[in-house]
């Protein structure tokens, strides 16, 4: 078929226009990168609030002329996760990308696409923080930022009403012991008041399962062992037995749960350092929230983050320098003061800026000292493999099914076993 010159021209223009439209949609939005004479721009992608204030970043820019640091904040960790995996190994990631421990196991599958942390700084962090981000070849790929050592938050007015001690050191002494002890005091409380002791089986389970070294997967083979692990079943039964009378049945992060933080629906909850901000932000008029230096069955960690440097970035060396600087103890303490992100760097624990830090909302509780003690009490680094997130998610749903009365304990467990069997 032959086209006349005019129609050919029209066709060319038409297709060129449509291709231009398409490519415009695909081209990267920002042209991040270098200007002339040695000027470089480094991007740092974080989420929620890492405590990296403009002043802190300015400090780095002043010390390193020719470097401009720009921070992009995603609203939630989930947004950051979606962005991370869509662009990892391709283009478009920031020079320094923050990741959260929840999806660290997924990141570890692609550890070869990330730059290795130089070995001279690895002793900066707690051992278990480093171990979790070290791959099978011994490469550490994450610069640890914060951790979430857990204490117990409680409502002193509700404790007083039940005839329990209200002072935080006495409460710590009262709850000292294992989980059975925690639920035993809970039984006392509910017997005295008829009210709930903790918020939900799910959040309490989270604290318990994070003390199990290999809960869902075999650390050597990576196979899913969750359904056959008697430790998991014991915890499941223990928390649900207690939950029948002691739980407020408020699923964590639900609208009802946020309302419960403020209206005294429950007397205690497990409290990582970052939870303090959640409580004070959602229970503004309440003056009786307090935090005790104790955690059932030893220490526990919930959450925390790392900075990673994608290996195919434009300025890998400069980005590593920046990540190194941001995760140095001095800067992490400043971040803690700004946003409550508790340091994972051992040297920070002896710094008075941290240990003498108090929180006015929690009635002047010495939270710096409390969470330093809580961090030192953490002795188990739970193994979390590729499927940890999915198995745990299914477990949380199993617990919710029992709590909201959809199923009984056994039926819900059986369904969970079936769901775990389908994972992979």
């Amino acid at each position: 078929m032959k086209l006349s010159r005019r129609t050919t021209a029209i066709a060319a223009i038409a297709s060129a226009a449509s291709i231009a439209l398409i490519t415009a949609g695909c081209s990267p939005a920002a042209d991040a990168g270098s200007g002339g004479d040695g000027e470089i721009e480094l991007t740092v992608a974080t989420f929620n609030d890492f405590g990296y204030t403009d002043e802190l970043l300015q400090e780095y820019m002043d010390a390193n002329p020719g470097v401009t640091v720009v921070q992009n904040k995603a609203a939630t960790s989930n947004d950051a996760r979606a962005n991370y995996f869509q662009k990892l190994g391709k283009t478009g990631l920031a020079d320094v990308e923050a990741i959260e421990v929840d999806w660290l196991p997924e990141v570890m599958q692609y550890s070869d696409l990330l730059a290795e942390v130089p070995s001279d700084v690895t002793d900066r962090w707690l051992d278990w923080k480093v171990d979790a981000a070290t791959d099978a070849d011994g490469r550490l790929i994450g610069y640890g930022t914060d951790i979430g050592p857990e204490g117990v938050c409680y409502r002193s007015d509700l404790f007083a009403a039940a005839g329990l001690p209200t002072d935080r050191t006495e409460v710590a002494a009262l709850l000292e012991g294992d989980w059975a002890k925690y639920f035993e005091v809970g039984a006392q409380y509910t017997a005295a008041t008829g009210k709930a002791w903790f918020d939900s089986a799910g959040s309490t389970y989270q604290g318990m399962i994070n003390q199990v070294e290999a809960a869902y997967e075999d650390p050597d083979s990576g196979d899913i062992i969750a359904a056959d692990n008697s430790e998991v079943e014991d915890i499941y039964n223990q928390v649900l037995d207690a939950s029948a009378t002691q739980s407020a049945h408020l699923g964590q992060w639900s609208d009802d749960w946020f309302a419960g933080v403020g209206n005294g629906a429950y007397a205690t909850m497990l409290c990582p350092g970052w939870m303090l901000g959640v409580i004070s932000g959602n229970a503004e008029g309440v003056t009786t929230w307090d935090v005790a230096d104790v955690f059932p069955n030893g220490g526990g960690n919930w959450g925390g983050s790392y900075l990673t440097v994608p290996a195919n970035g434009k300025h890998v060396d400069e980005a590593q320098k920046l990540a190194d600087w941001l995760t140095a103890p001095e800067q992490q303490i400043k971040a803690f003061v700004a946003a409550g992100t508790f340091p994972s760097q051992t040297e920070a624990y002896s710094d008075t800026a941290l240990t003498e830090f108090t929180n006015d909302y929690f009635n002047g509780a010495p939270v710096g000292e409390i969470f330093t003690n809580r961090a030192k009490a953490v002795d188990v680094a739970p193994f979390k493999g590729e499927f940890y997130f999915q198995v745990n998610d299914a477990m949380q749903k199993a617990l919710t099914r029992v709590e909201d009365g959809t199923q009984d304990k056994q039926a819900s467990w059986d369904q969970w076993v079936q769901e775990v069997g389908a994972i992979g």
């Binding site: 038409a14 408020l250 992060w253």
Partner: protein, 334 residues
């Protein structure tokens, strides 16, 4: 296309051509112009609409085809590589109890939202079609919820449907009715989600139906009134039959929208994964969770294709029903 030789020369040239020499050459030159014009006439329309179709091929057809390819693979999104595994992903999806629950939920929410929504929309449209004061105000008013972002609507309604401290249950308690377990009972959760959908889409459908109602010739009503038909009889005998083609359009669009419902169930609780017992897990929500929750794009692609086939099947059913209805409608008008 006809060839140049058989094309008859234009009459004006043939009539005033005294010399055969130039006239023999002139037709060929003009014939080329003609041919060009004919090509132009035939091709131009296609060229003018081609940008849309080129765009569609690149952004629509290609992804659909590529999704089919990926659905036969164990796909690694980050590395962009996959291993061919045949129909395994389809078998996996179809053997999951969750898939069938999701299918049930999708249809349940679709019916709970579409049916009351259409009835309500017809009723409101009929009211707005009457002689009322401040017509424009009321007409704009019904469209207002449609302007709101679905996520914003879902956030507000999710808060209202809280199990313990939600507005709806508090009101019910004041009336002495026991609290409804909005987040654990499947049917209750479907009603809550359908409410969000209805809130947003009733006004939109009302306006479309109102436009159709206003196109009905007023003579019919006058004639009916003279014959002694009351308002209700007029509505049943004139308005409803005349609305049929519009109703078919509204039903088809709400079917497509209903089968792809995502925002509302996603925002219904704090996790966005369809509830502890998959009470309000819809097909698209399940697809999202497999793709972006578990990063299993091979499996998500297989589910996407299954959804595509379901919509296609329902589209065909819609088409058959539509044809029947349209024929019926012809016989009604006589």
């Amino acid at each position: 296309m006809t060839s140049t030789a058989t094309a008859p020369p234009p009459p004006d040239i043939r009539s005033d051509a005294p010399d055969t020499g130039p006239s023999a050459r002139t037709p060929t030159r003009l014939a080329f112009g003609q041919r060009r014009t004919k090509w132009d006439m035939k091709l131009s329309p296609y060229l003018y609409i081609s940008p849309f179709f080129i765009l569609f091929i690149v952004t629509g057809l290609f992804p659909i085809g590529y999704t089919a390819v990926i659905s036969f693979m164990d796909w690694d999104l980050v590395r962009g590589t996959g291993e061919f595994i045949g129909f395994d992903q389809y078998v996996y999806v179809l053997t999951q109890p969750k898939f069938w629950i999701a299918l049930r939920n999708t249809f349940s929410i679709f019916l709970l939202s579409s049916v009351p929504q259409l009835l309500l929309a017809i009723f409101i449209a009929a009211m707005l079609d009457q002689n009322i004061r401040a017509k424009t105000f009321w007409r704009m008013g019904v469209l207002l919820p449609y302007v709101m972002a679905p996520v914003a609507v879902a956030l507000i309604f999710s808060n209202m449907f809280g199990d313990k401290y939600g507005l709806v249950n508090t009101l019910l308690a004041d009336l002495g009715i026991p609290a409804v377990p909005w987040h654990s009972d499947a049917f209750a959760s479907h009603i809550a989600i359908a409410t969000m959908v209805n809130f947003r889409w009733t006004g939109y459908n009302t306006l479309i139906l109102l436009a159709a109602m206003q196109a009905i010739p007023r003579d019919y009503y006058e004639a009916a009134a003279i014959d002694g038909a009351n308002k209700f009889r007029q509505f049943l005998a004139i308005t409803v039959p005349s609305l049929r083609p519009t109703l078919i359009f509204v039903i088809i669009t709400s079917t497509i929208g209903g089968l792809q419902i995502f925002d509302e169930p996603r925002m219904y609780d704090q996790y966005g994964t369809g509830g502890a017992d998959s009470q309000w897990l819809t097909i698209t929500l399940y697809l999202y969770d497999i793709g972006w929750g578990q990063w299993n794009f091979g499996r998500a692609a297989a589910l996407a294709w299954i959804l595509f086939l379901i919509i296609l099947a329902i589209g065909v059913i819609n088409l058959l029903v539509t044809r029947r209805l349209v024929r019926d409608e012809g016989s009604v008008r006589r």
